[in-house]
Structure formats: C-alpha cells, structure tokens
C-alpha cells in the first residue's frame, strides 16, 4: 500500500475493485465503513461477483473477469474528456508534460516498434535535450507530450466500448465514473483497494499501472485517504517481497546479470540518472545500498580490492527468467534436482496442479518445512488420495523423489517482524516452544547452512567461496536470535559499531553494513522500533507514527510531498500529512528532503523523472495499459480482433500445458476466498473446517436453469487442464453479462480445499492455466475458461 489501513478512513471515495475486503480482510474493512460512517464516503465496488463488499457499497457494477483495464481506461477517457481531473496536480506531479520520441503510436493492437514478436522500444523514450534531460511542455499541448498521447490512446475507451467489453451497461459505467471522479476536486481524496482480483491476470502489472494513472489524474497519490493500496493476502508477503525474489536482492536491488562483470558495471547499469534538473533522484544512492548489503553478506571478506565480494553473487544470464512458471517448467522437463520449500504449497497454490505434481515427481529430492502435512509434501500420495482428480499422476511406487517433511514452528512459537500491507513492521514475541521435535525455521536454515558448509570444508567441491564467505556470525551460529538478525538487517556503522539511524547514513566505501536498506531505521541505538506501542497520532489522520515502524524511514504515506501544491500549501487544509513551517516539513516523515523549501525539487524523489509516470516505458508490453483478453477468452478482443491476448503473454510448451477455447469451454471461471478460511491452512483447524467444510461451485441462476441444475446438484467443472466435482450453489450473485452481443456466464470457485486436512475437496488449480504476466510472472488464476456439466 502507498497508504495504510488506518488511513482508509480518510477517504471520500473508496473504489474496491479486484478485491473483496469485507470477506477477505474483514478487520481492515472497518476503515472503509468508518469512512462511510464519518465522512459519508461513497463506496464503489466493481467485481464479477456481488460480494459482501458489494452489498454495503453505494454502487456495484458487475464486470467480466479480466476486463478491468477496459474499465479503468474508460475512467481515464471519462476524466480527461469531461475535465474531471486535478489539472494542477497532474502538471506538478506527473510526466504528463514530458515529450516522447517521434514515431510513438499505437495501432491494431500493437504499440510502435513491434517486430518479429518483440518490441523495439526506441520510440517509447523521452525526447532528451543536450544535457540528457527530458524535454517538457508545461502547457500539455504539444502533440507528442504524454498528456496528449494518453488522451489519444484512451479516446477509444468510450462508455459504450467499455460496456461492450466488460458486460455492464454504459449507464452503470458512467454512474461509477461520476462517483469515482468526485476525487478530482483538490480537497477530495479517493482510495483504491485491490487484491488478487487484479494481480491474477496475464496483464496484471499494466492493470495496477492503469489504477495508478487514474489516481494520479484524480490527484490522489500522496494524499490521506488516497493512494493505490494492495491489500495483500499473507501476513508477511510484503516482507518477503522486500527481501527479494529471483530477480531482486533485499531492498529491491536488481539481481546482477552476466554482463555486469564487476561492481562498477553493475552499479552503472542499475543506478538511475536524473531525467530533470530538479529531480533529487534518490536512487542515485544505489552504490551505498549495494555496497552495504555486500558488507552485511560477506563481512570482513568483502574488501574494496575484491569489489566487496560482488563476484560471489550469482549472475543471471541476460534476458533469462527464473520465476515460478519457468523453474517449474524446467523441473517438469527433468532439469532440476531438488526443491526446498519453507511454508509454501505449490501443489495447492501453483497453477495447473497436474503439471505441478508431475514436476515434483521428477525431482531427486524435496525438502518441505511446514506446520502440517501439505499437498506438496504428500504429492506422491495424489494417486492414493485423489485419483479421480489427478488421473495423470503416477503411483507412489513409480516416484523416485526422496522427501523430507520437517516440523516447523508456527507464528506463536517464534519472534521476529511481519510487515503488513501498510508497510508497518510489527514485531512479535515467542509465546511457547514448538511442539515435540518441531524447530524454529532459523534453526532449520542454520543447521542446513552449516552442514553444507562443513561438507565443503571437508571435501572441497564446486566453487566453495560464495558459501564459505557468507557471514553467519551470530552469537549462537546454529541457533541465531532473530533480534541479532534484525540488527544486521537495519545496518551498522562498522567503524563505531553503532546501529544506523537510517539509510541516509549508508556509505559506498565499505564502512557501513546493511542487510536491507529500506528497513534501515527499524533497530537503531534507541532499540527495536518495530515493537513500539505508542498510541500518539499527532496529525490526527490515523498515521500512528509511534506504533511499530513503517518502511521507508517510518513514512506512513508514500509520496506525501504531492499532498501540497508547489508552494507547500496543502491541497486540503483539513487533511495535511505534511506542512512546511518555514524551516522544515512537519507531520509525516516527508517524502522529500526534510529541510528543503517547497520549490527546490520535484516531488517524487524516488524516480529519476522527479514526477510519477503516466507513461511508463519500462513495462514490457507498452508504456500505456491496453485492454487485452485473458489467455483463454470467450470473445474476440473487440478493440483489435487480430491481437486478442497480451502480445507478450508468457506460456510454456510442455505436454501438460493445454489451452481451451469457448467452443469446448464456454464459461468464464473466477477463483476466490471465503471469509471462514485462510488459503490452504485452516482446513487443518477445526472451526474453519466446520464452518466451511465443503467445496461448492457457484453457478448463475440462468445457466442453472438452462442445465437443469438445482442447489446441491453434483456438477463437474472441467478445463483444458483437468476436472473437478462438487455440489452446485445456484446464485444471483453472478449476473449474466452481455459481451459483444454474446451472453456470458461466469462460474465462481472458492479455493480452500485439497487432499490432506481435516476436510477434503478438489484443488481449484487443477483447472487454472500456466499463463503468466510477462512483466512479473504472475499466473492467470482468474478469467479462464471452463465447462460445467450436471452429473448428479
């Protein structure tokens, strides 16, 4: 979230789209209801299904799963063509005025530069002056400025076109647009709450980009009650993201590539240069963050002479991808030896379950650290436990994978910090020891680390240095205290031995060490900031700066400098997170130099432009979001029928990657969570299992009637990947939609069951496709095609 849960109460308009907080984040949803009660905020809910969030909203509009970009594109068109955007804010805070190279355009489904299945981005670039700065036209009139290009791009997204794609009516769309654009007034704020209903698409990143564009046009970024807010679905999914994935190091530093042969090459490629003279370009400090990370990893082994150990980090081949879909595909192809899983369950939560099970059966070994026996640990039992659903899976006798299932401690048995969706690092304490032989994860990891290190010390082997030089110098190296680890993550001055106060103190000369620069300030000489329990709220905006600690720098609202005009006057005096007192910015931690007068620099200090990107040339399939159909779609793309899906859609070509068409699979399927269950965990607890013991298939009334299906009738749902069975729940919640003149039915599938647990049921991912977003590699779990048959 750019803002946070408690801040949602400051909103005048709440757009809930791609999420269902009333059921999936019920406690967070209290702040939506508070905004409604205290501020008379309007709640607009756009969702394929009439959810409990929809039930308390002021306006609900149903749309077809996977058409959100069309809807948001329609909002952009509506705002710009009806002058319902915050013009001054857009001029000050976005790249609307930036000029783009000659030749940029869009036609027949492709942006300029499309050739041989790839984009040459030459025409997507800013036009630079002699000093390397982007040229701008502050009047926003230049035909090649971002504002005009955006206006042209979205001129196609009229209410009628939106309605025809999404399946709602043009009147419903316009009603929603009127309500959402209330926030275009300088003194009004609107928030956007989303979740996996947006990220589970093969154009997910562009979808979030579209939301950010709407919020920028409304002047909602940096404002209390504003922002783009991902609700997120796991207790520390934010923290695990902050600590890196296949393509990132801790703190969002990019993974080195093979052509970055030394630290200087790496830093040259990954340290942005300011694109405007008034841009602070804070990420120009990347060398300090990177060097300090290397010092945290390699300690005294990291010296200036050896590039601080940079060589020891893995270098990914240029252009290569090692994200989820890719390495499971490689596993399926027999190219991987082993998998280590700490609290993840790919058989349940990866797409295309049959492929996941088959991939795991090709491993030599599998290590799973868990609270419970999961489907992943028990994948070799799929034939025994659920043959009907996984007829393609092998018998246990024929699976040669050796599996270690390690009993791990649960949350209450460990201390450490979780980062919630508001970016608040909240420290917890351990209440009890783990049961029986179960161990804390830090002990499991440390034991494995040392055991492998010992083998290398004894036997030698392939390039031991990266492993042998990695520091694990905790007081008890095999039983590290997480407080000690947290202090290392915060960072330390290696000359004085003192904890750093924040990333502003990091140096690029090797005199500071810091495990994750965005967390610097979380454990200072004053102690653990994450365990703070102060109730103070000096701004009165519900920011609670003394409760826990928020990254970065305890800032509660990102981009908060945009909450005032250029002279530092708040857009809304009653909701000002920042005020300039003549010497300093007061209020929230400023997203700006704390003592820099208002007009000294551009407001978005983290971006080289100094302003936010309406036009984002770094995304792979276009600088503006465009509506593409899901990988499996019931209709042709009415905007450009020859380019139906995302031109850079990522798929794989194994013998288990199948796609269907509307001829065989005429219905659009969506997956969702129920309030009584958490993911695939609570089927191991009694109350949740009792409250929602059975899987069901939500089927629209009209379709049920056509097929002679009543409540509880046993039905089979099939896709090109697999099939599942369950009782029907006939519903009014899924309205029949009209798309391109065609009647479209959507089927609702709750996710929470599997073949182990107190209650059993089919895994929905038996049906989902291995279709992935090309920017981030997220699978398309929503908006795929199925068929429904009555069998009971």
């Amino acid at each position: 979230m750019t803002n946070g849960w408690t801040d949602v109460a400051n909103a005048d308009v709440v757009l809930v789209m791609g999420g269902n907080p009333a059921e999936n984040h019920p406690v967070g949803f209290r702040f939506v209801m508070e905004a409604k009660r205290l501020r008379k905020a309007k709640i607009v809910c756009i969702d394929p299904r009439f959810t409990r969030t929809a039930a308390v909203s002021d306006l609900y509009v149903p749309i077809r799963s996977g058409t959100d970009i069309a809807f948001l594109g329609g909002l952009i068109h509506y705002a710009v063509s009806n002058n319902k955007y915050q013009r001054k804010y857009v001029e000050l805070n976005t790249n609307a005025s930036f000029l783009i190279a000659e030749g940029f355009g869009f036609s027949e489904g492709h942006f300029s530069g499309w050739k041989d299945g790839k984009y040459d981005k030459a025409t997507w670039q800013y036009e630079l002056d002699g000093q390397g700065y982007a040229k701008v036209d502050p009047t926003l009139e230049h035909p090649r400025c971002v504002f005009q290009l955006m206006k042209t791009h979205y001129s196609r997204y009229t209410p009628e076109v939106v309605a025809n794609i999404c399946g709602c009516t043009a009147e419903e769309f316009v009603k929603a647009a009127e309500m959402i654009t209330i926030a275009a007034a300088a003194d009004k704020s609107g928030t956007v709450l989303y979740a996996l209903g947006w990220t589970h698409h093969s154009f997910a990143v562009q979808l979030i980009h579209a939301a950010a564009m709407v919020q920028l046009l409304m002047g909602n970024i940096g404002m209390p009650g504003g922002g783009v807010n991902a609700q997120r679905g796991h207790a520390n999914i934010q923290g695990s993201t902050d600590m890196g994935a296949w393509n990132t190091l801790p703190g969002y530093l990019k993974i080195p590539r093979a052509n970055h042969e030394n630290l200087a090459d790496y830093l040259k490629a990954n340290t942005p240069k300011a694109l405007r003279p008034n841009s602070l370009n804070y990420l120009g400090n990347t060398p300090k963050f990177m060097t300090s990370l290397l010092k945290a990893y390699y300690g005294p082994h990291a010296t200036k002479a050896n590039d601080f150990g940079y060589d020891w980090l893995p270098k990914v081949e240029e252009g290569a991808d090692h994200s989820w879909g890719t390495f499971f595909d490689q596993m399926h192809a027999g190219k991987m030896d082993g998998l280590i899983s700490f609290g993840m369950n790919p058989v349940a939560n990866g797409p295309n379950t049959p492929k996941m099970i088959r991939a795991l059966s090709k491993l030599k070994w599998l290590i799973v650290a868990e609270n419970f026996e999961t489907e992943t640990a028990a994948f070799w039992r799929a034939k025994e436990l659920a043959d009907k659903e996984y007829p393609q899976s092998l018998k246990a006798d024929d699976i040669q994978t050796e599996v270690f299932l390690l009993p791990a401690a649960c949350f209450a048995e460990k201390d450490g910090a979780f980062v919630n969706s508001s970016r608040w690092l909240q420290w917890k304490e351990a209440a009890v020891d783990p049961p029986g032989d179960a161990r804390r994860d830090q002990d499991i990891i440390s034991d494995l680390f040392h055991a492998v290190q010992d083998l290398y010390a004894k036997e030698g082997g392939a390039r031991p240095e990266p492993l042998m030089n990695m520091q694990w110098n905790y007081a008890m190296p095999k039983r590290p205290l997480l407080g000690e680890v947290a202090r290392e993550v915060n960072g330390v001055d290696l000359e004085t031995g003192k904890q750093l106060n924040g990333f502003g103190e990091l140096k690029a000369d090797g005199s500071t060490a810091c495990g994750n620069w965005v967390y610097s300030g979380s454990w200072t000489e004053a102690g653990n900031q994450m365990s703070r329990r102060g109730q103070g709220d000096p701004t009165g905006l519900g920011l609670y700066p003394q409760w826990a600690w928020s990254w970065p720098a305890n800032r509660r609202i990102l981009y908060n400098r945009a909450s005032t005009d250029s002279a530092g006057k708040p857009w809304d005096e009653t909701r000002a997170p920042l005020r300039w007192n003549g010497k300093r910015w007061t209020g929230d931690t400023p997203d700006y130099k704390a003592d820099a007068p208002p007009e000294t620099m551009a407001p978005f200090i983290m971006l080289p432009e100094g302003v936010a990107r309406l036009f984002a040339p770094d995304l792979v399939e276009g600088p503006f979001p465009e509506h593409y159909e899901p990988a499996e779609s019931p209709v042709d793309n009415s905007l450009h029928p020859t380019v139906n899906a995302n031109p850079l859609l990522r798929t794989y070509n194994s013998d288990m990657d199948h796609f269907g068409t509307a001829k065989d699979f005429p219905f659009v399927a969506i997956t969702y969570r129920l309030t009584e269950h958490f993911h695939y965990w609570t089927k191991h607890t009694s109350s949740s299992s009792e409250l929602q013991s059975n899987f069901f298939v939500e089927i629209p009334e009209e379709l049920a009637k056509e097929k002679g299906i009543a409540n509880k009738t046993l039905v089979r749902v099939s896709s090109a990947r697999g099939k599942i069975e369950g009782p029907a729940l006939v519903t009014k919640r899924l309205r029949t939609l009209k798309v391109s003149g065609k009647k479209i039915y959507q089927i609702g599938l709750p996710i929470h069951w599997g073949f182990v647990g107190k209650v059993h049921g089919p895994l929905i991912n038996n049906l989902t496709p291995s279709a992935y977003d090309p920017n981030c590699g997220t699978p398309e779990y929503k908006g795929f095609l199925v068929n429904v048959e009555k069998i009971g």
């Binding site: 984040h25 520390n236 009993p407 209450a412 492998v452 492993l467 309030t675 607890t685």
Partner: protein, 197 residues
C-alpha cells in the same frame, strides 16, 4: 501422521467457531459476563504480544499462556485474543483470527521429521540427527553437479540452476533475510515466494 478428526470432534469444537463466524469483525468479550466462573481462564496467564499469521491486515493478538511460572510445567497456550492497543484491530479479530488457538494446537501439527524414501508408499519417522546430514548431502551433490562458475563466454557467473527454493511469506523478515543468505551462499537463482502468486 495424525488421524483425521471426526465429525463429532468438529461439532464439539464448533460451538466456539460458530459464535465467531461470519464476515464481520468480532470483538472478543473481555468483560466478565453474568454467571461467569469465579476465575477466568486468562486470570493468571502470561501475556505475549504477537501478530496474526493469516492475511496482511496485521492484527495484533495477545497470546495467553499458563504454566510459565511453575517449575516442571511446560507453558501452554490457553487463549489468543485481539490486542486492544493495536490501532489496526483495536481488540477485534475476524473468524479465522478468533480461532487462532486451534491453529497453534491443531492435532494435525507436525511434531516429528517424516521421511519418504524413493519409491516408498509411506512416511517413516526420522530423527533430525539423521535427516540433516542426508539433506546436506543432497544439496551439496546437486550443487557440485549443477554449479556454473563461468558461463560459455568465460564470464564469472557463480550460479546454480538445478535447486530451487520457495517460501517466506508465512515467516518473518529475519527468516527471509537468512533464506537470502542461504540462497546466495549456494548461488541459487530459482527463488520465489508467494508474492509472485
């Protein structure tokens, strides 16, 4: 493996679950009700601050344990409730959070290392002392086989592609950081967490 629990057990336990079910956030009652027993089960407990491990709202919880102060008695959790001091949840929890105690003390919790040999049809109990060296041997042998010190162009790449590691979203920042050190020590490039999904 623990046995699946029976329907009867569900019904027995469900009284508590049913009382807190539904979509709305529920305040766990803290006031003493009429006809309450002389002492509440939380009267003499040790209270530990923790955070709900489910969704990312980040509700603070108070874990009540007894036994901490007695000799030869292992602390046991008797109750988990919302923390009234948290500006996020102010003591409230959803139906899942309100039944967290069952998650911690579920009879399906793993308490021993389980091992499944190649081609076997069953789990067998194994000690940590046996499991750790076996796992380390697998990791080392795979790394020795798959490690690429240089790429075909002779550039230093120090990468390992034949072992993947996943996880972290259920665990703390500090565990995630240790996983990053473990991963980069080995040179692993295939590393993912739930944020991708």
């Amino acid at each position: 493996m623990p046995k699946e629990s029976s329907r009867r057990e569900f019904l027995k336990r469900s009284a508590k679950g049913a009382a807190v079910g539904g979509a709305t956030a529920v305040t766990v009652p803290t006031a003493v009700a009429e006809n309450s027993p002389a002492t509440l089960k939380t009267a003499n407990t040790t209270k530990t601050n923790s955070i709900c491990p489910y969704c990312a709202v980040g509700c603070s919880v108070v874990v009540h344990t007894i036994g901490d102060k007695s000799r030869n008695v292992k602390p046991a959790i008797v109750h988990i409730e919302g923390d009234p001091d948290s500006p996020i949840n102010r003591g409230t929890l959803c139906s899942k959070g309100a039944s967290l105690e069952e998650f911690v003390q579920s009879d399906r919790r793993l308490t021993t290392v389980q091992h499944r040999a190649a081609g076997s049809r069953e789990w067998k109990r194994m000690s940590w002392a046996e499991a750790v060296p076996k796992m380390a041997r697998f990791i080392k042998d795979s790394r020795d086989k798959g490690f690429e010190a240089e790429d075909p162009q002779g550039r230093t790449v120090n990468r390992l592609k034949n072992i993947a590691m996943i996880g972290g979203c259920t665990d703390t920042n500090e565990i995630n950081y240790l996983l990053s050190k473990f991963r980069f020590g080995l040179g692993m490039v295939a590393y993912e967490n739930q944020s991708r999904l």
